[in-house]
Amino acid sequence: MTKPRLTREQIAHRAAQELPDGSCVNLGWGIPNLIAAYIPADVTVYFHSENGILGMGSRATPGEEDPDLVDAMKVPVTLLPGACFFTQADAHMMTRGGHLDFCVMGGLQVSEKGDLANWKVPGAKGSGGIGGAMDIAAGARHLIICMEHTTKDNEPKIVKNCTYPLTGLECVKTIITDMAVLDVTSKGLVLREVAPGLTPGDVQAVTEPKLIVPESVGEMRLSNVAAAV
């Protein structure tokens, strides 16, 4: 029997714990877009948007939307005190120049060296699109990838070498999945935490490269977020 894995919300909740008070953070599409909802009330994170905002607050409520104040997914947002506007060039100066504390993106594949593939599925219809992903991959100070641990067919997404079109080389520092938290190091992938109910062996079984498993591996803390049913 397959052991239950975490929900996308639980992955986002675990990722939110990586972001300290006062940090400046860019969130990408997919699971990362869920993270803002899990920042604790006593923690202030200054969210960055590629279209030139630092210090985005919560989503705008009905009636307070302003079509000139939207995030990178076109969602109307609000501003925290101290928020600022700038050009798209300055926004990417912040991502590529390593000025943000954390960038969080979704992933299709991550290699054991931290190579990332996340912009195009081979054979997919349409033009594909890069957006800011390659700039972020090239220059982020600390890049976190949030994704499911395997494909829908239970194939590993953490691989020895990416086979999907690459976004960037040796750029990922931390991987947070529905099974584990892993750190990319010069020695290889270190298993930092496993999801409740899972063992390091469960994670290794669906991970292509050999994991470095320390003597003590923590358990992902996930209070107050609904588990899979």
């Binding site: 939207v70 076109k74 957006g131 800011g132 090239a138 220059g139 080389l169």
Partner: protein
């Protein structure tokens, strides 16, 4: 003195020829020069090269120029799954696409505006977008040579202009607009309001008037 204020969007773009390359500002529904785009649709200018972050949302923004088949080549970072007219023509091989990472698109235009011919950057090194580009290892990292990117025209949207062409923007509607203003041979801007020179606080002018050639006042069109 050169008069920069035009009476209508149609007048402001009247000399854009077939085959022109045009930068279009805007991102996420904000800061698109929709009145200038509509004027280009009315004029029917063809064989355009469009430089913009995306390729429209349905009929919105640049979408109508693909619907009317006025664009033959695109330089963009994220054409977008909702750019259905572009996607259909791309699939049929009717329109060419050069995909550029979003920040590099900015920097290539910024280089053009700043008189820099090319620069090395690590963005995209080892990926398919760097194929056929010159590479060099700098500070131990693989870097690719990126060329400056200019255009015949920039169509941009600002909030207010003065009669000299100084511009201020509104919130996240700034995005690509100030960058494109520096990178084109002729920059045409639509604004909500035009005030006399001296009517804008010099401390907050985001695009100095030297970058602006034509200004037209038009009500913000949302699409």
């Amino acid at each position: 003195m050169k008069q920069k204020i035009y009476n209508s969007a149609d007048d402001a773009i009247a000399d854009v020829p077939d085959g022109a390359s045009i930068m279009f500002g805007g991102f996420g529904g904000a800061g698109f020069p929709n009145n200038l785009i509509q004027a280009l649709l009315r004029k029917g200018t063809r064989d355009l090269t469009a430089i913009s972050n995306n390729c429209g949302t349905g009929d919105g923004e640049l979408g109508i120029l693909f619907k009317s088949k006025q664009v033959k080549r695109v330089i963009a970072s994220f054409p977008g799954p909702k750019s259905n007219y572009f996607q259909d023509q791309f699939a049929a091989g009717e329109v060419e696409l050069e995909l550029v990472p979003q920040g590099i698109l900015c920097e290539r235009m910024r280089a053009q505006g700043a008189g820099i011919y090319a620069f090395f950057s690590p963005v995209g090194a080892g990926t398919e977008i760097a194929a056929r580009k010159e590479e060099r290892v700098l500070n131990g990292k693989r870097c690719v040579l990126e060329a400056a990117l200019g255009a015949d025209f920039a169509f941009i949207k600002a909030y207010r202009a003065d009669t000299l062409g100084n511009l201020v923007y509104r919130k996240a509607a700034r995005n690509f607009n100030p960058i494109m203003a520096t990178a084109a041979a002729t920059t045409i801007v639509e604004v909500d309001e035009i005030v006399p020179a001296g009517g804008l606080d010099p401390e907050v002018i985001a695009t100095p008037f030297v970058f602006v050639d034509r200004v037209v006042q038009a009500k913000t069109l949302r699409s």
